[in-house]
């Protein structure tokens, strides 16, 4: 009863407007009982980091399909670190070549979900991680 709801920020960084995935994830996490905030389109890393602080979220989910992940992710991780948000779990979903995954994880991304991932797998991951 008193258990705090997991708070998630779903963010769509960069110039890309393909938000089908972001909206599906936002809704699936909400249906799984989480508190979800969706940033809307075209967010810079600065905007996402500020929103994460203001909303005091446990998880940030980035939806990136445009190939800009190698630029965006390290920038965001640096900003989160500067703002003292070292506990936040950052997830990436989208089109990420497998060769880029190790470096992204190195930068602090907790997990990368590729196309075809079921929404339940993401819900389960978050529950396990943010226990």
């Amino acid at each position: 009863m008193t258990e705090k709801k997991i708070r998630v920020l779903i963010a769509k960084p960069g110039l890309d407007g393909h938000d089908r995935g972001a909206k599906i994830i936002a809704r699936a996490l909400r249906d799984a009982g989480m508190e979800v905030v969706y940033t809307g389109l075209r967010q810079t890393p600065e905007m996402i980091a500020s929103a994460a602080v203001q909303e005091d979220v446990d998880v940030i989910g980035l939806s990136i399909l445009s190939g800009a992940h190698n630029t965006i992710c390290p920038q965001l991780m640096k900003l989160l670190h500067e703002k003292g948000m070292n506990d936040v779990t950052v997830l990436v979903g989208g089109i990420i070549p497998e060769a880029d995954i190790p470096a992204l994880k190195q930068s602090g991304i907790a997990e990368i979900f590729l196309p075809g991932t079921s929404t339940q797998d993401i819900v389960d991951f978050i529950h396990k991680r943010v226990a």
Partner: protein, 536 residues
């Protein structure tokens, strides 16, 4: 989340139900009793309900009972004649195959020019340009918001100089070019026409297609810059320019492709696209343009998804709806305005990152549906596109897929081979009816711009998209290699675009700015190459 919350309380979507009044013949009833029932008792069917990928219910068997008031002369007609169910040309692909138009664009203008020339050398018959996100959003390659995006999803074009390189050694007088550009369409088109002029091509004779469909940007793809009303004014400006200066150019490609990719059903794709089309016609008329003059320059663009027959029904219904609207709603007298011409692209969203070679098969079947549905032009996706932009190897197989359909399968030998099929004709009617229900609903709201401002199509699509995801997660819809028939596999060799593209672009822009006469003082853009998006 407000968008989704509103979504869950909306009214029920127009019925996607099967034909209501069905009276089976005595012979059909006897078949049910004597043959079907004993079979079902022994072997129940695999599922209690069969549905198309959109959820549209599909009957076990279609007979003439499904087409009670169907009149072949009225509903089917003949190819090249109203209502164009069977196609817009009397001979269709017997005279002229569809244009094989592979969408391409990555890196710098040099990279893409090279790919264009390669594709033409492989037998491709038209060009289609993919621009990168900064270009789509009207930013120069060295703008802060372009960081990480230059040349990634398409070619980076910041200036007329880039455009000249893009079409270097490609004769624009002969090759038709499609350009997927929307918010900054007028600017990119101006650059294109300047390059054509410089090559010596006659604007009155050149042909090609500008996507220029801003309405679907709000509905689906979301690469918009300005609000709907002023954006519509820009679109109508290009119509007006096109009527006067480039009579053979398609000034718009009214696109259902992106609506479908955003998760809509086939009926939603059809309905929202055609209602967008009607909106453009009405805005054009309000500008004082003559329907019979500007409408023949409007073209369409549809998706080809996995559900084979539903897709074919969609294309056939599209032609019927457009004809009816042009004649009855706008009193058009010009048959060229009645005939809906369309490009098709196989469904990017149907491709899987898992077992990517399976995508060749998916694409082939989707392309076949587009051909049987009477497409004028076709793009087939490459097997690696769930991972990245295609390698030359993958793009070649995609082109070869079209060539195999065209030259080996025999499907081009006759016009509308599925015409008269009980199933296809019934489905065409049902899809058409479902689309009209949506169109009527949007009319009642006051038109598409108002509907968009109220997020109506956006919500309908988000609902359908979520319904489909839930069906996939619950394995009610199977995706081979994703939620069933899963296997271990090796990673694919994919195209990698690094940041050197951005550096090269930035250096070129810097040089261009230093050398250029300010545009305002330049006598003609073509002589200065100074046309650039965002002034520094």
């Amino acid at each position: 989340m407000s968008e989704q919350r509103k979504g869950s309380t909306q009214t029920v979507p127009p019925s996607e139900a099967s034909s209501a009044h069905r009276e089976a013949s005595a012979k059909e009833q006897a078949w049910e009793k004597n043959t079907l029932q004993p079979t079902l008792e022994k072997n129940p069917e695999r599922q209690s309900e069969f549905t198309a990928i959109s959820g549209h219910p599909i009957r076990r068997l279609y007979t003439k009972a499904d087409l009670p008031n169907w009149d072949p002369d009225r509903d089917l007609g003949f190819p090249g004649e109203p209502p164009y169910t069977r196609g817009i040309h009397s001979t269709m692909h017997r005279s002229r195959l569809w244009t094989m138009r592979q969408f391409a664009g990555f890196g710098t203008a040099e990279d893409t020019n090279q790919r264009f020339r390669y594709l033409l050398a492989q037998g491709q018959t038209g060009l289609s340009t993919a621009f990168d996100l900064p270009t789509l959003m009207g930013y120069d390659s060295d703008h802060a918001l372009s960081e990480g995006e230059v040349g990634k999803c398409g070619v980076a074009i910041s200036s007329l100089a880039d455009m000249e390189v893009l079409f270097d050694k490609i004769p624009l007088a002969n090759v038709t070019t499609s350009m997927t550009i929307n918010s900054p369409a007028a600017v990119i088109w101006a650059m294109y026409l300047a390059v054509a002029e410089k090559q010596g091509a006659d604007w009155k004779k050149i042909s090609g297609t500008l996507q220029n469909d801003i309405l679907k940007e709000y509905i689906a793809q979301k690469e918009y810059i300005y609000p709907p009303e002023p954006s519509m004014r820009l679109v109508i400006d290009t119509f007006e320019f096109g009527v006067k200066n480039t009579p053979k150019f398609n000034t718009i490609s009214i696109s259902g492709y992106h609506i479908r990719e955003a998760g809509s059903t086939a009926i939603q794709e059809l309905a929202f696209t055609l209602r967008d089309g009607l909106e453009y016609v009405e805005w054009g008329m309000r500008r004082g343009l003559d329907v019979d003059q500007f409408v023949p320059q409007l073209s369409f663009f549809f998706n080809a998804h996995n559900d084979f027959f539903e897709e074919i029904a969609k294309y056939r219904a599209a032609r019927r709806i457009w004809h009816k609207a042009m004649v009855e709603r706008y009193k058009s007298k010009n048959p060229r305005a009645w005939a809906l011409r369309f490009h098709t692209q196989t469904a990017g969203c149907s491709l899987t990152a898992q077992q990517p070679y399976n995508n060749v098969v998916r694409t082939a079947i989707q392309a076949l549906a587009a051909v049987l549905g009477g497409t004028q032009s076709l793009h087939t996706n490459s097997l690696d596109e769930a991972w990245a932009l295609p390698t030359e190897f993958a793009a070649t197989i995609a082109l070869r897929t079209q060539q195999i359909i065209a030259h080996e399968t025999g499907v081009t030998n006759t016009v509308d081979p599925l015409g008269g099929s009980y199933f296809v004709e019934t489905l065409t009617k049902e899809v058409e009816r479902g689309a009209w229900e949506y169109i009527d609903r949007i009319d009642a709201m006051g038109g598409m711009v108002t509907a968009i401002e109220r997020s109506y199509p956006q919500r309908e699509i988000a609902e359908a998209s979520y319904r489909y995801q839930v069906a996939v997660d619950k394995k009610k819809k199977i995706i081979v290699g994703v939620n069933d028939f899963v296997a271990e596999e090796k990673p694919l060799d994919i195209l990698h675009i690094d940041e050197t593209v951005a550096h090269r672009q930035a250096a070129r822009l810097k040089k261009l700015r230093a050398a250029s006469t300010p545009c305002a003082r330049a006598p003609r853009a073509k002589t200065t190459s100074c046309l650039s998006f965002t002034t520094p």
